[in-house]
């Protein structure tokens, strides 16, 4: 239990530090498309699944926690913990220039525990659902003055966004029998976004000016999932996995206010906005897929998701609602576990994963869909003394287009997930 407490403490501390640092003015740059709506949707799958371009709804590992499908929690045998960090680089370019942003982040963390070993499990997790981290910067000029004494002043206008939608979730998974599992999770969604605007005037006597739109909201959400396991389907020791989840739509009770700082940050003033309260409607999300393992060494998976973003409504940004379209994503991946052969070869000690995904995106701007094509590769490093492991994934993707004066982003991402299991973690002795 001491180790469990230590791990939880480290995860919470790491998250807190990251939260604090995210308030830094330089800590808010990611995808430029995250300025639209309530941020860009994030993958909620763990590094192992992301290494294959998959979601993780149709497969799971005994010693790796997952939040992809609540039904997986019914198969929990050992206490599991997951913590994730990542770094992404976005090289964005349009017809006029380019910009590179780097973004270090602490992602999801999860505790998954068995109640009845291998039959009933519980999961608690914290997961970022959308991310709004962007910075736009424009040099401008403006002629100010009267008929007799006008002057052209140069200034720059910076818009920074930070925050997004997060989810705290608690759920149960039940393995009904050796073939079918189901799960349910209740969650609290909470939105916290800052959209800051600063105009800086190099020339005296013009003062730098600012305002910040703070948007917050919360609501409850529900998620159900099922997982069907069909062993020995085509051959002995093979397995077909079929999984599906549904996230029910969420309507956030959101509010916002405008703030601004003066006197070098010493005083914050708040202004009530005319349209200060309103709903933000998030769409239904359906994900599903199949995986096939001819043996315990190989697995191939094909998964996809649908999100009905065309039904997205945001009273605070009504002009953006028309940009949202239904989102589809498909992924195909494969994993290879050579260590199960007992080979002593060094390279046989790792888990190998690779895959690709195509995401139509949830945005359609000026007739152009902001789609994302990603390729991923990952390795899993097993602990020599326990069943814990570290999954490392590297991915490269292309998002958007330069057509219609839009932005194309080349995305490099490295993600690391710490999977804690068994003796290093919590193992129910009564089972």
């Amino acid at each position: 239990m001491k180790k469990l407490a230590l791990i939880v403490l480290l995860l919470v501390f790491g998250t807190s530090v990251a939260f604090a640092q995210s308030g830094d003015a330089k800590a808010t740059s990611g995808s430029v498309y995250s300025q639209i709506g309530i941020g860009y949707p994030l993958s909620t799958s763990n590094s192992a699944a992301q290494s294959m371009g998959l979601l993780g709804v149709s497969f799971n590992e005994t010693f790796v926690g997952t939040i992809a499908n609540p039904a997986h929690w019914g198969n929990t045998v050992y206490g599991l913990g997951v913590g994730e960090i990542g770094i992404d680089s976005y090289s964005a370019s349009d017809g006029t220039g380019s910009v590179t942003n780097s973004n270090f982040s602490v992602g999801q963390f999860q505790l998954q525990l068995p109640i009845i070993r291998g039959e009933l499990g519980v999961s608690g997790s914290f997961t970022p659902v959308t991310e709004a981290k962007f910075r736009t910067f424009e040099q401008k000029t403006l002629t100010i003055g009267d008929n007799f004494q006008g002057e052209t002043i140069d200034f720059n206008l910076e818009n920074r966004g930070s925050g997004g939608l997060n989810r705290a979730e608690l759920g149960l998974g039940w393995r009904i029998n050796s073939n079918i599992s189901v799960g349910y999770a209740a969650s609290l969604y909470f939105l916290s976004m800052d959209d800051s605007y600063v105009a800086r005037f190099p020339q005296s006597p013009y003062r730098n000016v600012n305002f910040n739109i703070e948007t917050s909201g919360h609501s409850f959400g529900h998620r159900v999932g099922t997982f069907i396991r069909l062993p020995n389907l085509l051959r002995e020791d093979d397995q077909l996995g079929i999984g599906a989840t549904i996230n029910l739509p969420v309507e956030l009770n959101a509010e916002r206010k405008q703030t601004g700082i003066i006197d070098n940050g010493a005083v914050t003033l708040t202004k009530n906005l005319q349209n200060a309260d309103g709903p933000i409607k998030l769409p239904t999300k359906v994900s599903g897929g199949v995986s096939y393992s001819p043996s315990n060494m190989w697995m191939i998976g094909l998964e996809g998701l649908y999100e009905g973003w065309s039904g997205y409504e945001n009273d605070f940004k009504p002009s953006e609602n028309q940009m949202f379209v239904d989102r589809y994503k498909m992924g195909l991946g494969v994993q290879y576990f050579p260590y199960v052969t007992g080979s002593t070869n060094f390279l046989s000690n790792f888990k190998y994963r690779a895959g690709a995904s195509y995401d139509t995106g949830h945005l359609d701007i000026d007739g152009q869909r902001i789609n994302t094509l990603k390729f991923a590769f990952g390795i899993g490093i097993r602990s020599p003394r326990s069943n814990s492991s570290i999954d490392l994934s590297v991915e490269y993707g292309i998002r958007g287009t330069q057509t219609s004066n839009l932005v194309q982003e080349n995305i490099w991402g490295v993600r690391l997930t710490l999977n804690l299991a068994e003796v290093m973690f919590f193992r129910p002795k009564l089972q």
């Binding site: 300025q35 206008l157 006597p205 601004g260």
Partner: protein
């Protein structure tokens, strides 16, 4: 997702993916209700004091009598029987109003009543006694007037106070000098120019062939202005006098009409336009060497109108009014005030009760006047007094 980010080479990429939310805008508000208020102020104990006469075609004739009274010599100095008393006049030649090349003639009179320069107002005329002598001021900016030659009686009286004061240990003589000796008046005799005398450089000198020369500073100084009624102020303008005979008054900046938050306020500038054509044309028939004293600054006061002129006094104004200095631009004939902080305070704390705005020229003893365009319908909008506000706005709300 939470964490750290860093940004290299920030640019405008992605800046126009959505409709802009913020914009830097300029709002221009006409100042309505600009009027003139008579708050005739004080003329004594200022840095300078004026004397002379100028028949201004625009602002009317001005006869200015200068008043001055010397201190008694220091205890270490002795005004001997053969000693001569001279008055050195030094004035600011750049701030002369009238014909700078002309000769201004003065009669020297003895003042015949007790006066205190601290409470002497511009329109307070002192009772004068007998004429003591006369002198004239030409193009030079300083001159010595031998009072022993032109006003020997006054010198004898002054010597008596000086001698008695050295021998008196009770203070009675000094007191008598304060209350019974009243000084001199410089009364203009022709209408050539008004000269602003430096109060610290205008001094009395005592010369003696067998002793060191010493000087005595002024004890009191001030002036009286008699302005004629023959002014011809254009209807679209209001005169602004450094004497506060006419100060500008308005009640509101009109910023209540704007939706501006203090953090979004970059700059607020109050602009007043001088009626430069009228000022220049009025001197067309005068000698080419004729000018008006010109001021380079003006003050904006936010003060209680019940306490004028003390509330807008340049020395120690009452009731802690707000005072901002504006600068004059000769290039375009405007007075411009940076009122950013003032506007911010009004937005944050509301407009203070019982306060109004007043605009003055500095009352430093130099008589200066100008003409300011009003918000009259006949004035083009471009020349009406206005406030120009530059701010960052949330244009979606």
């Amino acid at each position: 997702m939470v964490g750290l980010s860093a940004c290299e080479n920030p640019g405008s990429v992605g800046g126009d993916l959505t409709d802009p939310t913020s914009e830097v805008v300029q709002d221009t508000l006409i100042i309505n209700g600009l009027t003139s208020v008579d708050a005739t102020s004080y003329s004594g104990e200022l840095d300078l004091f004026s004397a002379g006469s100028f028949d201004d075609p625009l602002f009317g004739s001005m006869d200015v009598t200068g008043y001055l009274k010397p201190n008694l010599p220091a205890s270490s100095d002795t005004l001997k029987e053969e000693g001569e008393v001279l008055l050195r006049i030094m004035y600011n030649s750049e701030q002369v109003s009238g014909d700078t090349a002309g000769t201004q003639q003065f009669d020297l009179y003895q003042i015949n009543q007790f006066w205190r320069d601290r409470v002497l107002k511009v329109d307070n005329e002192l009772s004068l006694g007998q004429k003591l002598g006369e002198f004239s001021v030409g193009t030079e900016d300083s001159l010595m007037i031998n009072l022993s030659d032109i006003a020997p009686q006054w010198v004898d009286e002054y010597r008596m106070y000086a001698d008695s004061s050295k021998q008196d240990t009770t203070g009675a003589v000094d007191s008598a000098y304060v209350y019974d000796a009243h000084g001199l008046a410089l009364v203009p005799q022709n209408s050539a120019k008004i000269i602003p005398l430096y109060r610290d450089s205008t001094r009395f000198f005592i010369q003696h062939p067998e002793a060191d020369t010493f000087d005595v500073p002024l004890n009191r100084w001030g002036y009286y202005l008699d302005r004629g009624t023959n002014s011809s102020i254009p209807q679209i303008s209001i005169p602004l006098h450094s004497t506060y005979e006419s100060v500008l008054n308005f009640k509101s900046l009109g910023i209540e009409e704007l939706d501006i938050q203090p953090p979004g306020l970059s700059r607020a500038e109050l602009v007043l336009y001088e009626n430069t054509p009228a000022l220049e044309q009025s001197l067309v028939g005068e000698p080419s060497t004729t000018q008006r004293a010109k001021e380079q600054v003006a003050y904006l006061h936010l003060a209680n109108p019940e306490g004028l002129p003390e509330n807008i006094d340049p020395g120690a104004p009452l009731n802690n009014p707000t005072r901002l200095q504006g600068s004059y631009s000769a290039e375009n004939g405007t007075f411009r005030f940076d009122v950013t902080r003032l506007v911010e305070n009004i937005i944050r704390n509301g407009f203070p009760e019982d306060r109004e705005f007043f605009i003055t020229l500095p009352n430093d003893g130099v008589i200066k006047s100008t003409l300011i365009m009003t918000d009259d319908d006949q004035v083009p909008d471009g020349l009406k007094p206005k406030i120009i506000i530059t701010s960052l706005k949330n244009i979606k709300n």
